[in-house]
């Protein structure tokens, strides 16, 4: 009975410390190189990826990565070839997700799609002067820190899952002839899939200065921090990395100085993360 009481007491005091002095509470764990849940600071949270979750769409995925849950559905439409973007997307969220996160995600995805990072845009050519347009509907169901990592994985998985039916136009067309879209026939029995050029992976790192550190300027690199850690410190580095060590985007802002050592540590972690995620996505595709 005494042991149970003392356990309850220590639990209660831990929760109280977390509430009234979160800095001190987290510092006692982070200075030892672990998060309060026992996860090492250099380790990412588990990811869970499922594809073909929505039978009515042409491609879909559901990703649970860390505390974020994102679903992505792809619907295809065929139209006359034009210079309009081949991929259109909308990002929606439930009320608990911050607007800033959604805006950042929109900016990142917009830039990646405009550079045709995922696949060659010529794959959208359906023949007969027709072209496919992909309509992505991304729904952020929950977040715990950042959403872009789960979002990008969901988009990659949805693209892998997308099934393109074959298109048939009954009349022979001249190059400048008018195409009547009502005569276009879709054959869903003959399908093809996208060949992805790359599956870019987003990862975020927070630089934390421990109170117990001998050197005031010494930083600990925290991988995949949760929401509570992000509120403690604003020093955040975001990186989108692709295959062959290509960096698509990187940004950092914060009080702690970003040194060359920290930057190379971050890039090594990001490369390792890319390898793990793309290996997982390739296994799903192979099934």
């Amino acid at each position: 009975m005494e042991t149970t009481d003392s356990n309850l007491l220590s639990l209660a005091s831990g929760e109280l410390l977390k509430k009234f002095d979160p800095q001190k509470y987290f510092d006692q764990f982070l200075s030892e190189g672990v998060y309060p849940d026992g996860r090492p600071v250099s380790q990412f949270r588990e990811s869970n990826v499922k594809t073909s979750v929505d039978r009515e769409s042409d491609g879909s995925s559901y990703v649970q990565q860390g505390g974020a849950c994102v679903s992505c559905t792809v619907n295809l439409s065929v139209a006359i070839s034009s210079s309009e973007p081949g991929v259109l997307f909308t990002i929606e969220s439930l009320g608990s997700v911050s607007e800033d996160l959604i805006t950042d995600a929109q900016n990142f995805l917009d830039r990646l799609l405009s550079k045709n990072v995922f696949f060659d845009i010529s794959q959208l050519d359906a023949g007969h002067n027709l072209r496919w347009t992909l309509h992505l509907k991304i729904m952020v169901l929950s977040s715990d820190g950042f959403i872009m990592d789960a979002l990008l994985t969901a988009v990659n998985a949805a693209f892998m899952d997308t099934k393109f039916p074959s298109v048939f136009y009954p009349e022979i067309t001249e190059e400048d002839a008018t195409i009547d879209l009502s005569k276009v026939k879709i054959n869903r029995e003959k399908i093809s899939r996208l060949t992805l050029k790359d599956t870019p992976v987003y990862s975020v790192y927070v630089l934390y200065n421990s109170w117990n550190a001998a050197d005031v300027d010494e930083c600990i690199v925290l991988c995949d921090p949760n929401k509570e850690i992000c509120e403690l410190t604003q020093n955040r580095c975001e990186i989108i990395i692709g295959k062959n060590d290509l960096i698509y985007e990187m940004s950092y802002a914060g009080k702690s100085a970003l040194t060359e050592t920290i930057l190379s540590e971050i890039m090594i972690c990001a490369k390792r993360r890319y390898g793990k995620i793309s290996e997982g996505l390739n296994k799903i595709r192979a099934r």
Partner: protein, 183 residues
Amino acid sequence: MINEEQCVVNCQYSMATFSVPDRRNKPRGDRRGNEFTRLLERAFESAILVKNYPRSQIDIFCEVLEADGGNLAACVNAASLALADAGIPMRGLVTAVECGSVTGEACADLSSREHSDIVSRLTVATVGGKDEICMLDLKNIIHKDHVPQLIKMAMDANAQIHSCLESAVLIHMKKCYALSKRC
């Protein structure tokens, strides 16, 4: 939103409609502008001694009158001088520069004609002219082995810009001191 312990830094980045050769429709509110706004906020939150002004807000409005590449870097430099002029204490003058990597070769301070979708651009802001990066923004694809060279070039350029800004602040301070002495 009031913060009991420190001041809130609010930035706004906008470009005048006449600042670019192809007249802009909207001066602000576009995605890139919003992104620059957030980067500016986070950079200056780290440089300003925010704990000196609890329950307060510092607004920094940057308007680009003539754009020729390196807009974010120019805004950082201008905002830094404006904060010094306002007498707001900072850890040091924040200076920024935009560098580009062209076929693996690092180039400092690209103009708008030198911008393209295939040239990777890195904007680096440092505090006090030292190697203390408080903001970094990399756009367009680059191999990770080219990043250290680009950062080194940015640091060297920042040191030069810092000395320019510092001398401008000192000259201004001397003028003000001479004026106040006469009074």
